[in-house]
Symmetry: none
Subunit: 352 residues, 2 copies
C-alpha cells in the first residue's frame, strides 16, 4: 500500500498506528496569475485555492467561496482526499501556516501560525521575496516548534507551486527541467518555458543563494527549508508532496553544502501520490538522488480505479496528481487501517 | 454527521481525532418516585437507573440488578449508545461523579469522584438541597480538576431530570415551559404540570437564587453549574445532554448576571441527540438563546433508521431521546471515524 521510492519501508512502518499532526503550508505567489500556468483553482479566483483548501480540510466547508476549488476541466482539489482521511482516521490535529495568503481562511479554533509574510510577486518579474528573512522565520519556527503528536505531516497548497519549484531547482544550478510535475496532464510547456526563462533572466552571476531564492522561489519553499533545518531531526516529519517538496529538500541540501554543515535526516521523509511517482512527465526520484543526505521517500499505492466518477477518473489520467498533502494523507489513512475502498467512497460522497 | 444548533462547526471539528474523558454525573432525586413522571427505568426500581447506567458504560455489565434498565414500554436506556461508542472508539477514560446516589455503582478501578452529597427530595415537597454548598463543591471541583485527555464530555443520568430542569428554568423566572423535553414521547403533562405547580408553590418572593435552586432543582444541575464556573474556560468541555444541560447553562447564566461577572465560553459547548434537536415537544434552541454568553451547540445526525429492532425504533418515534451523554458519545464516535452503521450494529448486539 505504501511503496518506497528511495530507502526502506522501515521509517514509515514504525509510524503505523501513531497519531500525527497534519500541517498545511499555505501561500500565494502572483506567478499563479499568469494565464494558463496552473489549473489549481477557478480561473480568476486561483489566489483563493489555499484558503478554500484549508477551510475544507478543517471544517468540511468552503467559506470564502460557494464551491470548492475545481480546475477548468472539473478536476476536484486533492483537498477532498485529505479531508476524507480526516473523517476516516482523524489526524491528531490540523495546523495551518500562513506563508503569505491573499485571503485568510475563515476558521476558528484551529491553530493558524502567522509570520507576517506577504504573498510573493510573479517570478516572471522577480518574486521580490526577502528570502533570508523568510528562511530565518522558518528556522526559528522549527527550533521552537513542539509537536503534540508523534510525528508531523507537512503538506502545502500553493497555486503555480510546481513552476516556482522548477525555477528554484534550476536557479540553484541543477539540470532538472525534465524532472518537474505540474497539476496539468498536458503541461503547458510554452507558458512554463517562457515564465521560467523570464524568471531565470533576473538571476545575476554573483547572486548568492538568498538573492536567487528571492527572485525565483516562493515563500513555501524557502520557509519550509528553514523549518526543516530548525527542527534538526528532533521531530519526525513526513513532507507530503511531490516535486515541490523535493525542491524544498534541494534548498536544504544547498544551504548545508554552503555552510559546510551536516544534519541528521533519519527522522525526515517524503511521501507523495502514485500519480506523481508514476508520472512520465516528471521524475521525483532523480530529484531526490541529487541530495547529499540520505532520505526515505515513498508513494501511496492509491488511485481511483475503484471509482467510476468521471471527475475522479481524471486523476488516473494524469490530472492534478498531488497537493494539499494528499500523498501524506493517504499514507496516514493506510497506516491507520483505512482501506482504499473507504477513502474512495468518502471522496465520492463529497462529490455526490 | 454533526450539525450546529447554534454557532459554527469549528469547535467540534477542532476536536476531531482527539481523546476525551467521558464523565458521567449521577444523581437521584425523589421526584422520580412520583408515579408516572419518568420512564427512565423499571417501575419501583427507578432510583437504580444511574447506578446501572454507570455500571454498564464502564464494564458492559449491570451489577446492581439483573437486567439493564428498560422503560415499561421496553425502551432501552441510552447507555447502550454510550457503551457502544466506548467499544468502537474508546474514550480516554470514564470517570463518575456521585452527586447523591441511593446505591453506589459496583465498579473497581474507574475513578468515582465523591462529594458527600445526598440524594435530593422530591421537588413536589421542596427538594431540600443545600444549594449553595452543592454549588460550591462544584466550583471547587472545577478549579482543581485536571483533565488528562484533550477535552471533557460531561453526561448525566438523573431520573426525572427533565422535570427538575424545567422547574429550575421556570423557577429562575424564564417563561419556557414549552421548551422542555422528557424521556416520554407523550409527555405526561398532568403529572408533570401538577409536580411543577407544587414545586413552584414553595418559592417565596424573597428567595435568593440558592434558595430557589434548593427547592426546585436537583444536585446534578446545581453542581455542574458550579463545575463549569470553576473550570473557567481552562478545559474544553462538551455538555452531553439536552434540556437538562441547557438548564445547567441557565443557572450559570443567572449566577454570572447576579455577580456582574463574565466568563469566557470559547471552550464550552453542548451536544445532544437528533431526537432532542428535532423534538417538536421541546425547544432546546430557544433555551440556549436565553444565554447572555456565546455558546456552540450541536446535535449528532444519528437515528435508528438502519435498524429494524422494535425497541430501537421507539427512539425514532420519540421515546427516550437522550441521556447518559448519548449525544456527546455519538459525537465522539463520529469525530473518531465510527460510522452510523457500526454504532447501530453494536447497539443491536447488546439487545440480541
Amino acid at each position: 500500500m505504501i511503496q518506497p521510492i528511495i530507502g526502506k519501508i522501515d521509517f514509515i512502518e514504525s509510524l503505523r498506528g501513531k497519531k500525527a499532526t497534519f500541517m498545511l503550508a499555505l501561500s500565494n505567489s502572483k506567478t499563479a496569475n499568469i494565464t494558463g500556468i496552473t489549473q489549481a483553482g477557478i480561473p480568476g479566483m486561483i489566489h483563493l485555492t489555499p484558503t478554500l483548501d484549508s477551510e475544507f480540510v478543517c471544517t468540511g466547508e468552503v467559506r470564502s467561496l460557494d464551491n470548492i476549488a475545481e480546475t477548468p476541466k472539473g478536476v476536484p482539489t486533492p483537498a477532498l482526499i485529505t479531508r476524507a482521511v480526516q473523517l476516516l482516521a482523524p489526524y491528531g490535529r490540523v495546523e495551518l501556516l500562513d506563508l503569505g495568503l491573499e485571503v485568510k481562511p475563515k476558521i476558528d479554533y484551529f491553530k493558524l501560525h502567522t509570520f507576517d509574510i506577504e504573498p510573493s510577486q510573479s517570478i516572471a518579474k522577480g518574486a521580490a521575496i526577502d528570502a533570508q528573512e523568510v528562511f530565518q522565520k522558518g528556522v526559528e519556527f522549527g527550533q521552537s516548534y513542539h509537536c503534540q503528536d508523534e510525528y508531523l505531516i507537512l503538506g502545502e497548497s500553493v497555486p503555480s507551486g510546481t513552476t516556482t519549484a522548477m525555477a528554484t531547482a534550476i536557479g540553484l544550478r541543477h539540470k532538472v527541467k525534465a524532472c518537474f510535475s505540474s497539476s496539468f496532464k498536458e503541461v503547458p510547456n510554452d507558458i512554463r518555458e517562457n515564465t521560467l526563462k523570464l524568471a531565470l533572466s533576473h538571476i545575476a552571476p554573483k547572486d548568492d543563494i538568498f538573492a536567487i531564492l528571492g527572485k525565483v522561489a516562493d515563500n513555501m519553499l524557502i520557509f519550509n527549508a528553514g523549518f526543516i533545518l530548525g527542527l534538526n531531526n528532533q521531530t519526525k516529519i513526513v513532507l507530503a508532496g511531490g516535486t515541490q517538496m523535493a525542491s524544498v529538500l534541494l534548498i536544504v541540501n544547498k544551504i548545508l553544502k554552503l555552510m559546510g554543515g551536516t544534519m541528521e535526516t533519519s527522522n525526515l521523509a517524503l511521501c507523495t501520490t502514485k500519480w506523481v511517482a508514476e508520472d512520465e512527465k516528471s521524475d521525483i526520484k532523480t530529484l531526490l538522488e541529487l541530495l547529499h543526505f540520505p532520505i526515505n521517500a515513498y508513494y501511496t499505492d492509491f488511485d481511483f480505479s475503484l471509482s467510476s466518477h468521471p471527475a475522479l477518473k481524471l486523476y488516473d489520467q494524469g490530472e492534478a496528481k498531488e497537493g494539499v498533502g494528499a500523498g501524506g494523507a493517504l499514507m496516514y489513512g493506510f497506516l491507520n487501517g483505512i482501506s482504499k475502498e473507504s477513502i474512495t467512497k468518502q471522496v465520492e460522497f463529497f462529490l455526490a
